[in-house]
Amino acid sequence: MELVVALGLIVFKVALLIAFLLLLPLPLTWVERKIAGHIQQRLGPMRVGWHGLLQPVADGIKLLTKEDHIPAEADHFLFKLAPILALAPPFVVFVAIPFGESVSVLGNEITLYVSNMNVALLFVFAVIGLEVYGVIFGGWAANSKYAVLGSLRTCAQMISYEIPMGFAVIGVVMLAQSMSLLDIVRAQADVWNIVYQPIGFFVFFVAGLAEAQRIPFDLAEAEGDLGAGFHTEYSGIRFAFFMVSEYVIMLLVSVLAVILFFGGWNGVLVPLPPLLWFALKVAFFVYLFMWFRFTFPRYRYDQLMAIGWKVLLPLSMANIIITGIAFS
């Protein structure tokens, strides 16, 4: 009986998480288009629903009913596999993400995470790396020059940012003496890691921008020079998969930044419910991502690699050394 209840709870949590993550891109696209509009002194979507609130729904219906086109010369197997490969890892990663300690419902303590892995951080980085295969396969399978160029850039981009990103969080692990995200947040109860790890945060954030493939590092789908990059040939629901994946990764990088460097659900000054603190911080980072997108131009991809190898990597190593000396 105990086991059944525990299992049922996990299934329920996973279902809730998946539904939440699948639906979240709807409001996020609306917010992004509104922010884009207002930064450019436009209004953004206005006509579907109040202030265009139903625009994402309309877009979703449009994408679902569009023809699902596969180019004649494409590699059909990989072409169909790629969107799923891009979509699944970001969802899987959220299994290891804690959203808070626990809440009590009807006298039972229910934890706000699916699992508390002791190597959660390692898991996150390992799984999120898989997402890149979706992008690479998608670009390759489409048999279009723009798509191939997009996925080539992704390869170059991936090796330049994943290493600094991995190194950047080592400082956090050293401070918390644990790789469990729960322990990392608990260790920040008094002082957030950003105070001790400004360099680590900087490296993590820049690499995270590259990870989420957002401007200024959205080389894989640079609209200006590559059509739409790796998903040029995708349409309909498969295209929607790539879009959802992009938004979930953006959310993931924000969540990781909050958990690793900004104290997770630990609040300051104002006593708010922990979950609300968490949501507010994540929302801030999501806003930051969108704000960046409509402010900065795109880096060339040799510049991205130069930044990755010549700036971020030495910085992250220096960060490890400094942390090691200062806190040992």
């Binding site: 509009g37 930064i39 002194q41 209004l43 206005m46 704000w291 402010t295 900065f296």
Partner: protein, 188 residues
Amino acid sequence: MSRTQNSIGTWIGWTFFADLANGLALTFGYMFSRSVTMQYPDKEKWLPYSRYRGHHFLKRDEEGEIKCVACELCARICPCYCIEVVPYEDEKGNRRPLKFEIDTARCLFCGLCEDACPADAIALGQQYEFSSFSSRDLVIGRDDLLAKPGKAAMGGGVVAARLDTKKDVLVETSETRGYNWWRNIRRT
């Protein structure tokens, strides 16, 4: 000396991403400035200046007679051959158009017909909302042309509009002329 200081200052600025922060501050400021979007056709619309070349109209003289003398000069000068005039003699013995048709689907709104007309009978007005699902509807006859709105005295203003163009869309304007496009655009 000032130059070295400058370059040191630049380097310090670069280290702390002064230029990126500047850009972010600018876009943040813009985010809370007023938008310049004109919500046509939901809320407002642009009323063009009187020099605008929109839909043609035929004029009447003081007695309410059509001014056109059916000389066919406009049909001759028209680069698209989209005017067709058939003259007849009315009761008073004047030469008038029996048929006066403009195929606005082919018209390029060059305004040459207006320039060529010796009787000042035809002109291009400010109306620009006459799209149609059928190109046949775009062939406008004499009586329709006479009924078209003439040139408005004012222009360059923003007037309220409604989505339903079947109803009368022209509402009294709040800002009669010279809508200042730059008003909401901050230049720094």
